[in-house]
Symmetry: C2
Subunit: 397 residues, 2 copies
């Protein structure tokens, strides 16, 4: 079982620091029955589920209070991360109003965001419910979005978080090594997918997204590119085979793509079109990585990679260049992507030191298949460094 406890203690202290940095008085996470809807902030500040309406409050002074149903209170106390844990039976209202009165805030940050799914765990019903519980008080007028707090809490990885991400990446690399030691030719996508499951189970990790589409396995040009699930296509000589796999180890994720070219009889290397596309993809990835520094904006990084790829004569990729990884393979927060409507404000956020991104792009090379490359990098003042040996050469079988 994953123990997030030490990370949660770190993150709660980090949250208090962020409230000061953003001059906000308190941060209120308001949830209920988390088996139905799980606010993604909970894995940063609690690490287990709750049943009844619950309020987790961090104030600028650093004080942390949890108000939870009676039968959840013991778990919250055992966590040892909250200064006070209050259990209630019939209504959270009195305790919640009393705690807010004690803080006497002029701003109350809530988990909602138009753009950032990782900072948007408050449901519409719970927002309405909170407003009703606080009717007649000054507090509803003080609600603001906690998106900057939650985003930065997620983006600025602690040493302990980094260690877990590095381990997930290491295990993923080992799983790829074992998987691709098999001769792929003649296997179906589905068979390769099943084999990957066996290998991952032996390593004691889980999958970072739904198993049905993890790893993605694309055999040749007719396989559906994207988040599709492996099918019955059989790997043939003369095909590019594309993999996209993310693992979760101790609660933290990797997200890496890998490529194999299956030679035809008599071939000693991949066809020239394939080699040319591979080089172009790598030039584009490196062009993006070169601009990936603290303070740069996400869209600028994406634009650098995108321009390099089109300069080589390939079409633009139809997704973002990069996303954070952490507790999720898509960890929310800023996006290294174009200013498309679906990304909202996320491409305009400045990049933070301590962030870990998956950077990725690809091109279709008919009639061989899809080339996709994806690596994981850590951002520091020195730039973006690869967290594992990147796949700079196209592997061959």
């Amino acid at each position: 079982m994953t123990d997030l406890t030490p990370i949660i203690r770190e993150k709660l202290d980090q949250a208090a620091g962020l409230l000061n940095e953003h001059r906000l008085d308190c941060w209120l996470t308001f949830v209920r029955e988390t088996s139905q809807v799980y606010d993604p902030a909970l894995n940063l500040i609690l690490g287990f589920g709750l049943t009844w309406e619950s309020a987790l409050i961090v104030s600028r002074s650093g004080r942390k209070v949890a108000i939870v149903g009676r039968f959840d209170a013991d778990n919250a106390r055992r966590l040892g991360a909250y200064d006070e844990v209050i259990g209630y039976d019939q209504s959270i209202g009195d305790a919640l109003r009393a705690q807010l009165a004690q803080i006497n805030p002029s701003s109350i940050a809530l988990n909602y965001s138009l753009s950032d799914s990782g900072a948007d765990g408050l449901t519409f019903g719970m927002y309405a419910r909170l407003t009703r519980l606080l009717a007649g008080t000054p507090y509803p007028a003080q609600f603001v979005s906690a998106e900057d707090i939650v985003r930065r809490l997620r983006e600025r990885k602690s040493p302990r978080e980094l260690e877990r991400i590095r381990r997930a990446i290491d295990v993923t690399r080992q799983v790829y090594d074992e998987l691709l030691a098999q001769p792929l030719v003649g296997m179906s996508e589905r068979q390769v997918h099943a084999l990957a499951g066996d290998i991952v189970a032996r390593h004691g990790c889980g999958f970072a997204w739904e198993r049905a589409g993890n790893p993605i396995v694309n055999a040749g040009p007719d396989s559906a590119i994207g988040h599709g699930m492996p099918g019955d296509l059989v790997i043939q000589p003369g095909q590019l085979v594309h993999f996209d796999m993310g693992l979760r180890c101790d609660g933290y994720c990797s997200d890496l793509q890998r490529m194999v070219y299956v030679r035809r009889e008599g071939e000693s290397e991949p066809p020239e079109e394939v080699r040319r596309a591979w080089q172009a993809c790598w030039a584009a990835l490196e062009a993006g990585r070169a601009t990936l520094k603290p303070g740069a904006l996400g869209w600028q990084v994406d634009a650098a990679a995108r321009a390099e790829l089109t300069r080589h004569g390939y079409p633009e990729y139809l997704h973002a260049f990069g996303h954070h990884i952490g507790q999720q393979a898509h960890d929310g927060g800023s996006v290294l992507g174009p200013q498309w409507d679906k990304y909202g404000d996320l491409p305009n956020k400045p990049i933070e030191a301590g962030s870990v991104f998956a950077i990725e792009l690809g091109v279709m090379v008919a009639p061989y298949g899809y080339i996709g490359i994806e690596e994981n990098v850590l951002v520091s003042e020195a730039g973006a460094e690869y967290l594992s040996a990147p796949q700079t050469q196209l592997w061959q079988q």
Copy 2:
């Protein structure tokens, strides 16, 4: 891997029927990056995760449309449950407005609810985003809550859903049989919990809630009652040992409590106080079950059980008498509980035929420990029938 596909097709048709029943024109589920926030309605109408802003629309005519990001579209098409699947690249806006224009609704039901966590998957940020995407159209003025649709969709189990729940209950019963064939005395709560994990893994099912607190194991009177995690207390002669376990098999859950009394040397049966409390608990459970019929209100059922328990001289239990089980052990929808603020409107909802409830209550019997009983029942016009042999006798070791 769980295949929800056949159930999803049934549920989508059921949803169209519910729109007619409630005279609503369409139901819109609006989500994004479901690895961060997973709308619990998705497992009724899709069965896999989505990455970018997505709209799943069911209209009163029975037409179903999915608008999703390009790289998720293939999965939605393969499901075969939507009449049209539209993939987009930059913004969902145009396709969403066009679809709504085609339906020309006077009501658009959204997934929000003040009380029902199972019908409240729309986040506050996504509500705001939807309003912005539809600015300048008549549609935001037509938003209503989909809670009656989602609640009934969840509550009225289909034969296929019932079959899966029955299987989860059967496996749970077998796991309890194997677990309690062990001599418990001298084992710690934690050891029993670990052993349960091994047995469940052999049966190929998963746990219905977080493994850390599943099963709950309470050894004697000093163990934390509620949702606490098993600890280092060692089971002693003269103790009641209480178990609360739920499993998930093929996507559907059980939730059952079981009780063992560990005899002292020379004892041939449990102490009189324990036997008396056991009888009172059972009388109360049966009093509640007797009132559990279509059309009854949840609070009435709870009140019947509660009154019977106090009539026997025991204190009221500090929770609800019953909750739905289904895809979750706490499946949302109506609650068989008192009209406490934290339950909102849920105790006032009429009970539906085809519902499956976990019904439960308990009392502390110092100095022996906690007695908790919980059984799963199916509601039909004939009343509430047990879905597995109930534990009418306190087991002894």
